[in-house]
C-alpha cells in the first residue's frame, strides 16, 4: 500500500511530463521567456548593456540579466515578456521610500553643488551665497554633516 504513496511524484518536471501543469503554470514563464526572444536576436544584434556589457544572446542563454540597467537597455525585449509573464505591467506594491528620498536629496545636492561652482566661476557671489545656504539646508534634511569638506 505504501508504494502507492511513493509513486505520486509531483515535482514540476514530472508534473510537466504527465501534462499536469496547466499552460498558465509556472514552467510557462520560462517558455515565454525563450519564445519571446527567439525571433529577436538577429534584429537586435549589436545591442549591448553599457553598464555590464550584457547582450540579448547572453540573456537568452541564462534567462537572467547582468545588471539593473539591463532593464532599460533591453526595454523592447523586456516589456512584451513581462506582459506575458505577470498579472500587470506596472508595479503597484511597496515602495522603498527612504531609499528614494535619499536618492532625491542626493541628486538635488549634486545639482546645487554644480550650480554653486558655476556661480563662483562666473563671479555671481550673491547666487553663490544662496546656493550655499540651500546646500546646508539639504544636507541637514539628508542627515549629513552640516558643511561639506571640500
Amino acid at each position: 500500500m505504501n508504494h502507492k504513496v511513493h509513486k505520486v511524484d509531483l515535482c514540476e518536471s514530472c508534473a510537466q511530463a504527465k501534462g499536469v501543469t496547466d499552460p498558465s503554470g509556472f514552467s510557462l514563464a520560462d517558455l515565454l521567456l525563450k519564445a519571446s526572444l527567439n525571433p529577436e536576436p538577429d534584429t537586435v544584434t549589436g545591442l549591448r548593456c553599457e553598464q555590464c556589457g550584457f547582450t540579448p544572446e547572453e540573456f537568452k542563454k541564462t534567462g537572467r540579466f547582468g545588471c539593473p540597467q539591463c532593464y532599460e537597455t533591453f526595454t523592447d525585449i523586456v516589456s512584451p515578456m513581462l506582459d506575458n509573464m505577470h498579472k500587470g505591467t506596472v508595479h503597484v506594491g511597496k515602495v522603498p521610500e527612504r531609499a528614494l528620498l535619499r536618492k532625491q536629496l542626493h541628486d538635488r545636492l549634486h545639482n546645487l553643488e554644480t550650480s554653486l561652482s558655476e556661480a563662483i566661476k562666473s563671479e555671481r557671489y550673491e547666487d553663490a551665497a544662496k546656493f550655499r545656504d540651500e546646500i546646508v539646508q539639504v544636507r541637514e534634511e539628508a542627515g549629513l554633516a552640516p558643511t561639506p569638506t571640500s
Binding site: N2, L10, V20, G25, F65, G66, Y71, R98
Partner: protein, 365 residues
C-alpha cells in the same frame, strides 16, 4: 560569543520546536523578497571583487537590523559541505547558494525564522519562516526587516517595474509567498492532479516540498504565487491565503471521504507505518518521509495525542541525509550506513511514542 553553526543547529527552532500552533495541513509558511543594490552588477555577472564588496556592504546592513543583530553570519566558501547540506535541509539556504563560492553567504537568526542570503541569484534574498499557516505575520515581519535594510541600502527600484531582479519572473514586488502543505488524503485518493491544475489556473504553483527536481516524498507540497508584477504584496498574501484555505478544505474532505468509504484503510496504513518506524532497522530517507507522513496523518485523525505533531515535524528534517550524517559525527557515510543510522534514530524516538488509540475522534476536524 557569536553563534556557531553547531550551536545554531542544536538551538530551538521555529520549525522544529514551536508547538504553539496545531496545524493539521500546513507545516510552514515562508515569504521571501528578492532585492538588489542599485549600482552593482547582479551576482551572476559580477566579478569576485564586486561580489566581495556587495557581501561586505549587505552583511553590515543586515547585522545592524533588530531581527539579525545576534544572528550567525557565514561565508559559504568557509562552510564544510556537510554544514551547507544541513542548512539546505532546514530551508535556511538554497541549494544554489550552497554551491556558489566567492562572496556568497547567509545570515541566520537564532531560532532560524529569519535568514538572509547574499549573492545568490540576487544580491539579497530575505526570507521569513513561520510554522503553520501564518502568512500575514510572516509578511509583517519581512516588511519590517526590508524597510530597515532600505534605510541604509540603495535598492535597485523603478517606479514602473518596482524592485529590479536578476530574473524577470521576480520583478515588481520580488515577493514569493509559499506554504508547505501535507496532503496525504488527496494523494491517496488520486486527486492531486486535479488540485495542481486548479491551483495553476488561480495563478499559483505547486511543487514537491524539497524543491525542483525532487519528488513529493511524504505527500508534502509547496504552493506559492507565480506572478510578482501588477499586484501588491498584501493582495498576493490575501489571494494565496484563500487558495491555501481551499486546499486545506479539500484535504479535509478527502480524509473524511476515505474514512467513510473504507474505514479500515487509513488506520491500517497508519498502524503499519508506526510499526516500521518503531521496529525497522533499515529506512531510506524517502521511506522515512512517507512513514512520518502517515503517522502525522494519524495525529490529525486523533489516533495519537496532538503534542506529537511537533516531534514528527522535527523528524521530517532530522531524517534527511545531511542531518543523519551530521548527528553521527562521521564523515563520508554511505547511504546504507545512513539508512541504518536513520532507522536507529527513528526507533529511539518512537520507543517513547504513545501507542495509537484507533477509536478516537474521527471527523473531529
Amino acid at each position: 560569543m557569536p553563534l556557531s553553526i553547531d550551536n545554531l543547529i542544536s538551538a530551538r527552532a521555529e520549525l522544529t520546536d514551536n508547538s504553539s500552533t496545531k496545524c493539521p495541513v500546513v507545516l510552514m509558511t515562508r515569504i521571501r523578497l528578492a532585492r538588489n543594490l542599485a549600482s552593482h552588477n547582479f551576482p551572476g555577472r559580477a566579478q569576485a571583487v564586486e561580489r566581495r564588496e556587495v557581501f561586505a556592504q549587505c552583511r553590515e546592513a543586515v547585522m545592524a537590523t533588530k531581527a539579525l543583530k545576534r544572528g550567525v553570519s557565514m561565508a559559504v566558501n568557509e562552510l564544510e559541505p556537510l554544514h551547507r547540506q544541513v542548512l539546505v535541509e532546514r530551508h535556511l539556504i538554497s541549494r544554489e547558494l550552497s554551491n556558489s563560492s566567492e562572496g556568497a553567504g547567509a545570515i541566520i537568526n537564532k531560532d532560524q525564522s529569519v535568514s538572509v542570503m547574499i549573492n545568490e541569484e540576487d544580491h539579497l534574498r530575505i526570507q521569513v519562516l513561520r510554522n503553520g499557516l501564518q502568512l500575514k505575520r510572516a509578511w509583517n515581519a519581512i516588511d519590517t526587516l526590508d524597510t530597515a535594510l532600505e534605510g541604509t541600502l540603495d535598492y535597485a527600484f523603478s517606479p514602473r517595474l518596482g524592485y529590479i531582479t536578476a530574473c524577470p519572473t521576480n520583478v515588481g514586488t520580488g515577493m514569493r509567498g509559499s506554504a508547505m502543505m501535507h496532503l496525504p488524503a488527496l494523494v491517496i485518493a488520486g486527486q492531486m492532479e486535479k488540485v495542481v491544475r486548479a491551483v495553476n489556473q488561480l495563478g499559483m504553483v505547486v511543487r514537491g516540498l524539497f524543491g525542483e527536481g525532487s519528488d513529493a516524498s511524504g505527500s508534502m507540497f509547496q504552493i506559492s504565487n507565480q506572478t510578482t508584477l501588477g499586484e501588491s504584496e498584501v493582495d498576493i498574501v490575501k489571494r494565496l491565503q484563500n487558495v491555501l484555505q481551499s486546499i486545506v478544505d479539500h484535504e479535509m474532505n478527502a480524509r473524511a471521504k476515505l474514512l467513510e468509504t473504507n474505514p479500515a484503510k487509513l488506520p491500517d496504513k497508519i498502524g503499519r507505518a508506526y510499526g516500521v518506524l518503531k521496529h525497522g532497522h533499515i529506512i531510506s530517507s524517502s521511506e522515512a518521509m512517507n512513514l512520518l507522513s502517515l503517522v502525522r496523518l494519524g495525529v490529525d485523525l486523533g489516533y495519537f495525542p496532538d503534542e506529537l505533531r511537533t516531534g514528527i515535524d522535527r523528524l521530517f528534517i532530522e531524517a534527511q541525509p545531511g542531518h543523519i550524517s551530521h548527528r553521527s559525527g562521521q564523515k563520508n557515510l554511505n547511504s546504507e550506513q545512513r539508512d541504518e543510522l536513520r532507522a536507529t534514530h527513528l526507533r529511539e524516538e518512537f520507543a517513547n511514542f504513545t501507542t495509537p488509540g484507533y477509536a478516537s475522534a474521527v471527523g473531529e476536524n
